[in-house]
């Protein structure tokens, strides 16, 4: 239905222009700068393009580059793209870094196991542009991570959604620092598991690992003494605690009772249809009806002025007539 898709693009552009022109006075009356109005137009148009609901434009497209939703960018950052970018500055291709273990990795997507696990490898990260911020660009910066962390998807475990979300709004230097710290501390924990803090050269990257281990053993030693004192204290408490215990048990029973009364969940709704079936449909038509007729179980529909979203693509129609049996 290419006809209606071409129409969609033109129609949407004209509606955007029409709305922007129509509210200009409202913006002026509110003392809102013209710049904000242009920003609204820009935001709206780029979101429209990003929705993918319109086919690639047959005429010279708008300035904005099609932008997949931010969520997909996050997945890419967490996914293989992250590592494949390593070649940009990584030892394999540049050959100029101080890393001398050098068999080139045959496949950039999969880090080569020959890498010395204690060597630091520069990794380029790219934070996606924020569609919400006009003029925002994808930002790349380089962080240092131990080569061993490239094996076994360590980075993927460390660079999770929350940390990306937390850094995406920060200025670039701050974001780089934060990510570097996050990775250092997270990897410090993970690496101790299989290479018992062997690399003195790595201590800079893993400031918490060695000290942490020693400190905790000290603490345990003193805890033993604390524990025995506690035990003595417990004996005293036991005598007057029978009543308290009874109360506690009662509270526990109350909690159980509460749990039994609780289940007023959506799962209790009695419905012939799965609620999801009813309302979570990808394909939606929004329109007006001229006439709806029914003869026995045969229905006829006369619709007009419709916008359809079918399989993610938008179509528009002036008239759409159809029939169905119930």
């Amino acid at each position: 239905m290419t006809m209606s898709q071409v129409t969609v693009l033109k129609l949407y552009n004209s509606v955007v222009d029409d709305v922007i022109a129509g509210v200009r006075d409202c913006f002026l009356d509110d003392g809102v700068d013209e710049q904000v109005l242009q920003e609204l137009k820009q935001l709206w148009k780029s979101k429209l393009v990003a929705s993918g609901a319109m086919d690639p434009a047959p005429e010279p497209p708008m300035q904005q580059i099609p932008q997949p939703p931010v969520l997909q960018h996050f997945q890419k950052v967490n996914g293989n793209n992250l590592l494949s970018k390593r070649g940009d500055i990584g030892p394999q291709t540049s050959g100029q870094s101080g890393v001398d273990h050098g068999t080139p990795a045959p496949n950039m997507g999969h880090p080569h196991p020959v890498l010395d696990p204690n060597n630091k490898v520069p990794v380029q990260l790219t934070l996606p542009a924020q569609p919400s911020v006009p003029g925002s660009q994808p930002r790349s910066f380089t962080i240092q991570i131990p080569a061993s962390a490239l094996n076994g998807n360590k980075l993927h475990q460390v660079l999770t959604g929350p940390i990306i979300n937390a850094t995406i709004n920060l200025p670039q230097p701050l974001a780089a620092t934060l990510l570097q710290q996050h990775i250092n501390s997270a990897l410090a924990g993970q690496q101790n598991e299989y290479d018992g803090g062997g690399g003195g050269g790595r201590s800079g990257a893993a400031p918490f690992s060695l000290d942490g281990a020693l400190d905790s053993s000290d603490d345990e030693g003193s805890n033993v003494g604390d524990g025995s004192e506690d035990a003595a204290g417990d004996d005293d408490e036991d005598e007057d605690s029978v009543e308290e215990r009874a109360e506690e048990e009662e509270e526990e029973r109350d909690e159980f009772g509460g749990a039994e009364e609780e289940p007023l969940n959506s799962g209790d709704d009695v419905s012939d249809e799965e609620p999801g079936d009813m309302f979570d449909t990808d394909n939606v038509v929004v329109c007006q009806y001229d006439k709806i007729t029914r003869t026995r179980n045969k229905w006829k529909f006369y619709f007009k002025d419709g916008i359809m979203n079918l399989a993610g693509k938008d179509y528009v129609f002036q008239k759409a007539n159809g029939d169905a049996e119930w």
Partner: protein, 107 residues
């Protein structure tokens, strides 16, 4: 007064998201955003009725559910084939929400 139902489309939703962002950044007030949405209702209703010329037919394997409430029809259709001249789009499920085209509110 124009129908607001087109707000729940790609072009309507993206407008609302954009307005939400501007409100969050403190660049516009919610009141101004409402004015923009009302203008959108006017523009989209007018554009659909005057600028769109395509005509479709469709045939559904089954009318699964229908509902008529407050003068709004909602249909769930299964196995639907939309046809525009020689071009065809098939979907296994579609939801149609339709307001009264003859309503006095729709001008």
């Amino acid at each position: 007064m124009s129908y607001q139902l087109y707000r729940n489309t790609t072009i309507g939703n993206t407008l609302q998201e954009s307005l939400d962002e501007l409100i969050q950044y403190g660049q516009i007030t919610p009141t101004l955003a409402v004015k923009v949405l009302l203008q959108f209702d006017k523009s989209i209703n007018q554009a659909l009725s005057s600028r769109v010329k395509s005509r479709l037919t469709f045939k559904a394997g089954k009318l699964n559910t229908y509902r008529f409430c407050d003068n709004v029809w909602t249909f769930m259709l299964n196995d639907v084939e939309f046809r525009e001249v020689h071009e065809v789009a098939k979907v296994d499920k579609v939801k149609i929400v339709a307001c009264d085209g003859k309503s006095e509110y729709a001008d």
